[in-house]
Amino acid sequence: MKLGAITNGISQDFERAMQVMQRDGIGYAELQFIWEKEICHHTEEENKEIKRLLDKYGIKVACIMKHVFNGMPLMDTEIGDTTYNEQINLLRKSIQLARFFDTNITRTMTFAKQNVVFGAGGAEKYLSGGNKAWIKLLKLMEPACLIAEDEKIDLMMETGTGAFIHSASLAKKLIDDLGSPRLKILWDPANCLYSQEHPMRTYEVIREHIADVHIKDIRVNKPMASIVYCPLGHGEMGQFIDDLALALRQDKYAGVVTFENQVIPSGGEEEDGWNQSVALFKEVFE
């Protein structure tokens, strides 16, 4: 399988991240934050320098990871709003950068989470706001999908803990309901643990729609609203990674599997967290 990393999970110093990835045999970079600046907000000179460093270290770009539509309140957002238009413009910028960095995938987030979307038996009136949110999500996501189709680029939505699409099940439903061949899933099964979703049961449902997989490990306590990051194999994802790797191999998954290091050990930095887990990541997914 193709192995990747979010570069800021190693270092905000992009050249240092490239050096570590080359050293560890990780060939694909997800571009999210570089030199403490989010992708899409660099100058042309900075983008050229990023490309030069990628070429220097022989690393390819897996995808452009701008947080489009991240955390926006669904029911208070309308097509044509200033904030909505800003996000659409950032999506267009992401697509331009994808071309520049020679990838065909860009990320979108999916607005802010609503815990109960579908109510029934009376719960639709009292707990889910009349079941209006899903239709609104479809309306707001459709223009982004149309842009992706026009540009012939894959738009992958991340399954986020605080996102409207917070499980792979909901991601599959969104793809089914929008019917866009360009909408794919950036599956982060660790994030989905926060929604109590079993990774391997869900994999069967979404495997044809996966564009990228994020691998990390966490310990979740939902009633306490807390998440602890931990080295790979030390949290609740540890029990699933071997089965997940096997399933991806059996299905001849051709995309990238990305180690999303976000562990910062006490007194350390991201690179220390990376070093704690990269060997196991490679052992399981290479």
């Binding site: 609503q114 109510g119 989905c192």
Partner: protein
């Protein structure tokens, strides 16, 4: 324990709701929507009529249950903002109404949910907004508590499905962090299932000394699918907990009221049908 219901779960016709409550032996009316209007938004004449009907049917008011501060975003709301002040004035009005109706409690909701409040080992930065939400929430909430203390009324915060306070643990922590006797928990254990709380014994033991009011309903929850199905008491995910909660409340000498929150509506039926399908079970469990 004193048993009651939210009247709009029986009927939006307030007189009819009270008549049925009287027939069923329920004495505590929780006021949320009357005649299709939310409490706090009724005219003076409607409030007077509501009081006449309460007296006529011999009902007490347990809680003034307006949706104060519901779903306001914590990180982008400020105390001096128009929306905060609007809700603050609504809360003041609810306190006046509580005194008018002889109720000792006023409900508040607890803003919109921040999904991850506390992250550690890097999750603080990437998944919990640098752990800033709780302190901001305390700043927003302490003004509410000050007003409750000033007016010598008990503010009850509901454990909501999409609220900042969505579990027993979080409710206890808020009360402890604010250090007040005028804030209690309006415990809705069914709502907390949406945040994977375990109502009994874990959540109950967190808050047993802090409960101001209880909502009882039953639902079936599927968290990854974001679905909730309302159902009669004993037929959903709350079924394993009802008898244990009732026994613990009795054993621990709970003297407050418990409301049947009848949100269940059978296919092709009405909310009244839903109420009738479960009121007997409610009374049997908690009387």
């Amino acid at each position: 324990m004193k048993l009651g219901t939210m009247t709009d779960g029986v009927s939006e016709d307030f007189g009819q709701a009270l008549s049925i409550m009287q027939q069923d032996g329920l004495t505590q009316a929780e006021l949320q929507f009357l005649w299709g209007t939310e409490i706090g938004n009724l005219t003076d004449e409607q409030n007077e009529r509501a009081k006449q009907l309460l007296d006529q049917y011999g009902m007490e008011v347990s809680v003034i249950s307006k949706h104060n501060f519901m779903a306001l975003p914590v990180m982008t709301t400020e105390v001096d903002s128009d929306i905060y002040q609007k809700h603050f004035n609504n809360l003041k009005n609810c306190i006046k109404l509580a005194k008018y109706f002889g109720a000792k409690m006023v409900r508040t909701m607890t803003f919109g949910k921040e999904i991850n409040i506390w992250g550690y080992n890097g999750a603080d930065r990437w998944m919990a907004g640098n752990n800033q939400a709780w302190n901001k929430f305390l700043c927003l909430f302490e003004k509410l508590v000050e007003m409750a203390e000033l007016n010598d009324i008990t503010l009850v915060m509901e454990t909501g499905t999409n609220a900042m306070i969505s579990s027993g643990f979080l409710a206890r922590r808020l009360i402890e962090d604010l250090g007040t006797n005028h804030l209690k928990v309006l415990w809705d254990p069914a709502n907390t299932l949406c945040c994977a709380d375990i109502p009994w014994p874990i959540a109950y033991n967190e808050i047993k000394d802090l409960i101001g009011h209880v909502h009882i309903k039953d639902i079936k929850v599927n968290i990854p699918h974001a679905t909730v199905h309302a159902c009669p008491l004993g037929q959903g995910d709350m079924a394993p907990y009802f008898e244990k909660i009732a026994a613990s409340l009795k054993k621990d000498g709970y003297t407050g009221s418990i409301s049947l929150e009848s949100i269940y509506r059978p296919d092709g039926g009405t909310y009244m049908d839903g109420y009738r399908a479960q009121v007997d079970t409610f009374i049997k469990l908690f009387s």
